[in-house]
Symmetry: C2
Subunit: 337 residues, 2 copies
Amino acid sequence: MSGVNIKMLAEALQLAPSTVSRALNDSHEISEKTKKRVLAMADKMNYQPNPFARSLREHRSKTIAMIIPDLVNNFFSQVIEGVEEITQQFGYHLLVYHTHENVEREKEIVTHLLNGRVDGIMMSVSHQTKETEHLMRVYQKGIPLIFFDRICDSIPTTKFVTNGYESGYEATQHLIEQGCKRIAFLLLSKEISISQQRLRGYTDALKDNGLEKNEDLILMCGKDDHYNHQLIKEFLNGEHRPDGVLAAVEKLAITTYYVAGELKLNMPDDLRLVSFSNMKIADLLNPSLTTISQPTHEFGRQAASLLMNKLTKRNTPDFKDEIVVLPSKLDIRKSSK
Amino acid sequence: MSGVNIKMLAEALQLAPSTVSRALNDSHEISEKTKKRVLAMADKMNYQPNPFARSLREHRSKTIAMIIPDLVNNFFSQVIEGVEEITQQFGYHLLVYHTHENVEREKEIVTHLLNGRVDGIMMSVSHQTKETEHLMRVYQKGIPLIFFDRICDSIPTTKFVTNGYESGYEATQHLIEQGCKRIAFLLLSKEISISQQRLRGYTDALKDNGLEKNEDLILMCGKDDHYNHQLIKEFLNGEHRPDGVLAAVEKLAITTYYVAGELKLNMPDDLRLVSFSNMKIADLLNPSLTTISQPTHEFGRQAASLLMNKLTKRNTPDFKDEIVVLPSKLDIRKSSK
DNA sequence: ATTGAATACGAAATCGATTCCGTGATTAAA
DNA sequence: TTTAATCACGGAATCGATTTCGTATTCAAT
């Protein structure tokens, strides 16, 4: 049934379990000769240490958790790739949990991880998570915690974000330079926290270019695609329709494509579009989509590296309460040119 | 540092640890009154059972592993979503490992999972994994193992695949009906195992329609995008260029779009294209892409359900050595119409 | 020759939850 | 009223690896 354990190994070698354990862990207390014998026998008997016995004793699991809202948006898939690249190098295991933007689900997951199952947590909070008590408990328990993208400000730890403000500003500036006079901003009401900086960049760019800020041009969309479609359609069909659109999230840009098609609006002539997005085939859309893309793999790699460093090196100081900014990149394509 | 354990709980309640354990597990040997007291105190002291102690004792981890080649292809992201949906319902944890199409990496991962860390494994093998000894070891160890999409025939267990043959046939038939005479098939050399059925569907459809099979129309592409680009460009630029293309994987369809653009080939007039793909925005490509999409979430849900059933219900028979087929769906769009 | 320190290993406790085996008390059956 | 069964719980072993104490030997130093 189960495999060989250290006791069986010890018996086969006519040694005590303690000696075998030390030999396997390359302790200086064991002679080279014995070490070789043990290693050889362990190999021969195909010995695999029991991870739970070890974790129980050592109070660490060599496992970290990644808690994310969703995967369908390929942003997080790409981040995971980056994370996994690092954790594998360190021999750590990666548990993945989805909150599906549900705060209650997030609480459950986080609470379940309070029992030591993981040595560290990387997470992106579910939209406007107001309550932070469950996160504070993780922090106070001393479990290394890192936020990325959707961060929680009130927890004093390191957070990785992208430069939403600058990107929003840059994208808006670009649209203005292309001659847009009425630039709209599309965002998901659920994503306020992350979209807010993008929105500020947008409004500041307008202001700096002497364009009036117009609340009517800021369109709050919801979760339902069909509803958004109607909303955007009315918006783009109105008398005072915008000549430029900056979408805070990819899915709203997609909907804009559909609506533009229905309304026979020609992009970029009738409407210029820029979107925050990590789509790989922006080039292939009709017209190709100007995007602001985040350094997803870098997100994963840097956050995971910081965590791995903390977990594997002795006397590492606690994470600084700071926000690390990884710049996004504006790729201008035909939808805005 | 660490949390409260069952012994501390017992002390606070003036009970034996064994009694507390039984009360928490709702044993019939414990009176209702005591159970209530224990539950209340456990709640008050914020007791969280140690998962490693439990796993060590029970020889099960309530964790399963998902081993996949890659995530960038959103096929697997979507499957994971389906899996996670099920595992969460059962309170199971999900470990994710990527092989990056590297057989050696796959062996390492699989071998590491032989120690009981997971109760079950769901995997999609890295391309043409010829050696199956490492998989056989998992099977012989008695760890429930399920394959999906990229399966390993020689292991007698349940495998989930999609109907590549029928889809390949249907797509080819569709292209023929649209008037294509010279239909090409694009595949990745690394993906032979999975593309082979699609290829057979393609060739049979040609045969059944009285079209000659032409080896020159079957294009083996490689891993490098740039190389593929050149290859496809020469292919589509030749004198005997095809008037229809069936791409076995999405990335080759993407490259075809680029090449068609460069060569000023008009789709669908000069070239009709159909691709196996799970892209969500096929509608938005220029022209919109006709796809054969797999039921990804269903893949994840069904495979995970089968596994959960096996792990949580007593006396479940071993997985049958069978192949479950989940049909793909042809969505005809402008690239082929 | 005696003391001191390495050297190389063994015995047993430990991590925290579960469970086998008892055992005193209460209740039901004879 | 005696016997048997049931109830409700305690004690201790157990899962498998690590680690704290020991201890018997060897070797060098005084």
